[in-house]
């Protein structure tokens, strides 16, 4: 990326950095996508999030994107990203931010948990750029899904056409379901009591 030394250029960089921080990006993403110094980014991060950024390395495995639920979320993000980048001429990081916002819009609409963080989404784009991951189309639904680049994908069937039996049954989900069932049961009892009183 070109070093910008103008005040306006710096203002743009700060705008970009703060947007990424608001979306929950890790410091490494900011360092790679903006020309601001580490000290300034750290200060900006603390100002916005009111806490120090998490330490440690970024998740670096491509395997995570292959497990059932992450694969679906990653594929949705990647489809949105690719349609943004092919339909208009925008910067890569701009497309990542917009695609991520659209992805979150879907999650709100479908009442699903946020599986893919902005940092993971950014890594995904980097993995695809580096040729480690790519998308292939499912032979049943023709949708595009994230896969390893050198995998045999002639007869690829996606995780949604061919759902594994325990798909989506995470600890978090089943806890929520139990809670929901308990609430419904309690409501039922109240209704019966009310009926008895009447």
């Amino acid at each position: 990326m070109k070093k910008t030394k103008t005040v306006l250029g710096e203002a743009r960089q700060i705008g970009l950095a703060s947007e990424l921080i608001h979306l929950g990006a890790r410091l490494q993403v900011l360092e790679s996508e903006t020309t601001l110094s580490r000290e300034r980014l750290l200060k900006l991060y603390k100002e916005i999030q009111k806490k120090s950024p998490p330490k440690g390395m970024l998740p670096f495995s491509t395997e995570w994107f292959m497990t059932w639920q992450p694969n679906i979320h990653a594929s949705l993000f990647m489809n949105l990203y690719q349609s943004l980048i092919t339909s208009s001429e925008i910067d890569e990081i701009d497309a990542v931010i917009r695609a991520y916002k659209l992805y979150r819009e879907y999650l709100v609409q479908l009442e699903m948990p946020e599986v893919l963080s902005i940092t993971r989404a950014w890594r995904l784009v980097k993995f695809v750029d580096a040729g480690m991951l790519t998308t292939t189309s499912c032979k049943e639904c023709t949708g595009h899904f994230v896969v390893h680049t050198f995998e045999l994908t002639k007869d690829y069937v996606c995780g949604l056409c061919n759902m594994p039996s325990r798909a989506g049954k995470t600890k978090c989900n089943s806890a929520a379901q139990r809670q929901q069932a308990a609430i419904e049961a309690a409501d039922g009892e109240e209704a019966i009591e009310a009926a008895v009183v009447v």
Partner: protein
């Protein structure tokens, strides 16, 4: 529906579609292109249309918008409402729809 009513309905649908499209393009071009499934060229033309031109185009006998997803798979996914799978099917439909706009562009 008689022919005059039909023309009126088409004109209204056209007008609200064109106005919505124009507002979306003016607000955020890149996002609007994805949501509308338009090409950059057509988006540029719609963005520049005056109110008079909008009315004139809307008044034709043809609908200016059409179904984007010419695929029964997407429709079936959007229609199904089994309770525990509706979010997975919603995701599936979303992936297919987002992917379709790549192919068109």
């Amino acid at each position: 529906m008689n022919i005059q009513n039909l023309h009126n309905e088409i004109r209204e649908a056209n007008l609200s579609y064109l106005i919505l499209a124009q507002n979306m393009i003016r607000a955020d071009r890149a996002e609007a292109l994805v949501r509308l499934g338009l090409s950059e060229d057509v988006a540029g033309i719609i963005e520049q249309l005056t109110a008079g031109q909008l009315l004139k185009i809307a008044g034709s006998n043809m609908l200016m918008c059409r179904f984007r997803f010419d695929d029964s798979v997407v429709w079936n996914l959007l229609l199904s409402h089994t309770k525990d799978q509706s979010s997975a099917q919603g995701m599936h439909a979303a992936i297919l729809m987002a992917g379709k706009s790549v192919e068109v562009a």
